[in-house]
């Protein structure tokens, strides 16, 4: 893991230094609490009995009462399973496409021996600094006939130029001697990419999967613009309806119950949607720390 603090040789500790150390340790503890508590609150609230939660004021230190009603309501909702299906499709297919295009693009841009590399690099980099903007993009998707399909959110994000540059930088670090000996054995570009570059780039590939995957999972805006068919809604868009637009019509059948139950349902949906990512998180952590480092080399 990158960025672990250093132990320094210190001759001796004065009282002032020990006091600082203790204060600093406490401060970091408070910081952790401030980071974790909002998430804990959501979990507690989701498990609470809805009328007790409404009556409760102030800080929750455990669920107010206990009830799984919110989760039962969420599990009865049709939009959540279809949202999971659509989001998983977007993440899997989208990330696969991202990886295919990004590796090929990065491989080409990392060539030093081809005349076309420089103009193509400029052609690609220019898009980082200037774009048509929101409305032309919207009209473009419409004119390509992609609207109201999941491809409308997958294709426009098929390459993230910043990630492409990260990957190119990483490819450039691979010694050219490896490639030259492969060429002498008659290997073409596909073989070099598949047999030499990719096996040597496992870490950066993991970073790419993580970055692209999380981006897809969390994206909602393009889906809101392009997808009308509710069966195609990704999870975040359903979530937006529930959390932001306060639209509970899908969730609560009896109007009398609506206000009371809706409070806990909101929390339960957040838990259901966020937990998968946060469960994967400990395994992914070292990769995204690495990703920040690779990105930083370029500066």
């Amino acid at each position: 893991m990158g960025g672990a603090p250093q132990k320094r040789n210190r001759i001796k500790n004065s009282v002032g230094q020990s006091a600082f150390d203790a204060a600093n340790a406490c401060l970091m503890f408070v910081f952790m609490l401030a980071t974790l508590y909002p998430m804990l609150y959501v979990i507690f609230a989701s498990l609470s009995n809805s009328s007790e939660l409404m009556a409760h004021t102030g800080v929750l230190l455990r669920p107010a009462g206990f009830s799984l009603a919110a989760y039962q309501n969420v599990s009865r909702n049709k939009m959540i399973p279809s949202g999971f299906r659509n989001s998983i499709f977007i993440v899997v297919v989208g990330t696969a496409l991202n990886l295919a295009l990004t590796t090929v693009g990065a491989y080409f841009l990392s060539r030093r021996d081809q005349a076309l590399v420089k103009p193509v690099t400029l052609f690609i980099l220019f898009t980082m600094f200037f774009s048509g903007g929101m409305i032309p993009n919207y009209l473009n998707i419409d004119s390509l006939g992609l609207a109201d399909s999941l491809w409308a959110v997958i294709f426009p994000g098929a390459i993230n130029t910043f990630y492409l540059i990260i990957m190119r930088t990483s490819f450039m670090g691979i010694p050219s001697s490896l490639e030259e000996s492969a060429k002498l054995d008659g290997a073409n570009h596909f073989v070099i990419l598949a047999r030499i570059f990719l096996p040597l780039s496992k870490a950066v590939l993991a970073v790419m999967v993580l970055y692209y995957g999380v981006d897809h999972w969390n994206a909602w805006f393009n889906a809101m613009l392009y997808i009308r068919n509710r069966d195609l809604y990704p999870l975040q868009l359903t979530l937006r309806e529930i959390l932001i637009s306060n639209d509970m019509t899908q969730m609560v059948n009896m109007a009398a119950d609506a206000e009371r139950i809706s409070e806990t349902i909101k929390h339960a949906v957040i838990v259901v949607v966020t937990l998968p990512i946060l469960c994967l998180y400990p395994f992914l952590q070292k990769y995204f720390v690495k990703g920040v480092m690779i990105g930083a080399i370029k500066g």
């Binding site: 893991m1 952790m32 609150y41 102030g58 052609f123 929101m134 998180y281």
Partner: protein, 285 residues
């Protein structure tokens, strides 16, 4: 082999750039671009003359500068404090926890903000019980928008933002600390004379890159948090483009506003890059 990559850039980046020409036409969807009436810079002039112009410019700058002023030093401070922790394992635990909010989606973050700051929300209830405010939804109060935006931004980003500074801290030559100790420098002196100069180039580069995006406030968080009561303080250029273009369907005008924003962003970025090259010797290009 490269064709799909080039096709992507042509279809999804360059074609919309061409499409942005509608800013100069009285465009009706479905009619080929050059069959529309050419109106030159009229959309741009309309925008400059519009009352909203000063509002969105002011809000964009205010929100951006407030985010930089509070959000930029925060990860540096966190990295320095983590670096001073005696226990490596404890430091690692704090780091792990601090990165977590970065992975929560914006929709969920904004949903949580709305929940906590609603009239029944935990923050409002806590403040109300201390007598600090009336139990009303904070997001309906325009003076609360900026603090909520900035604080939630720090909550989500401070841990992730500290990674780069922690890396810079590990890069400092340990012999410098040893030499400083021999010269009798305490930890405070070491911080001032070794640590801070050691991470200064990274800080400078990050600051200039951040300043390069000063006129670029993302619309996603804004449109998830604002409402008609807070437009006066929350509406930025990009959210205005979204509202006029995609909710009121004034395509040409909103494209012109978007182009104006892109142009400013480009100019500011070029200036920031030049400044970065001059002060640190390295830039984006």
């Amino acid at each position: 082999m490269l064709l799909p990559v080039l096709a992507f850039y042509l279809l999804f980046c360059y074609k919309p750039m061409y499409g942005a020409l509608i800013a100069f036409f009285d465009f009706t969807p479905g009619i080929p671009l050059f069959d529309n009436k050419f109106i030159g810079a009229r959309n741009f002039l309309d925008f400059f003359a519009n009352r909203t112009f000063s509002r969105v410019m002011r809000n964009t700058l205010t929100i951006s500068l407030a985010t930089i002023a509070c959000g930029f030093p925060a990860p540096i401070a966190l990295a320095l404090l983590l670096n001073e922790l005696r226990s490596r394992r404890y430091s690692r635990v704090v780091q792990t926890v601090s990165y977590m909010p970065h992975f929560i989606s914006l929709v969920v973050i904004c949903g949580m903000i709305r929940d906590f700051t609603g009239s029944h929300g935990v923050i409002v209830q806590a403040l109300a019980s201390l007598g600090l405010m009336e139990p009303v939804a904070m997001l309906s109060k325009s003076r609360m928008f900026l603090p909520i935006y900035v604080i939630s931004d720090i909550w989500q980003g401070v841990g992730y933002g500290s990674i780069i500074y922690l890396a810079a801290l590990t890069g400092i030559d340990q012999e410098q600390y040893e030499a400083a100790t021999i010269d009798g420098a305490g930890r405070w002196k070491q911080l001032l004379h070794v640590t801070l100069p050691g991470i200064a180039p990274t800080v400078m580069t990050m600051l200039l890159l951040r300043l390069g995006r000063v006129m670029n406030v993302g619309f996603e968080k804004i449109i998830l948090l604002y409402n008609a009561q807070t437009y006066e303080v929350a509406d930025v250029i990009s959210s205005y483009v979204y509202r006029v273009g995609l909710q009121q369907f004034d395509y040409s005008y909103s494209t012109a506003v978007g182009l104006f924003n892109s142009a400013i962003n480009l100019i500011v970025l070029v200036l920031a890059n030049a400044a970065s090259k001059k002060t640190t010797g390295s830039g984006l290009w």
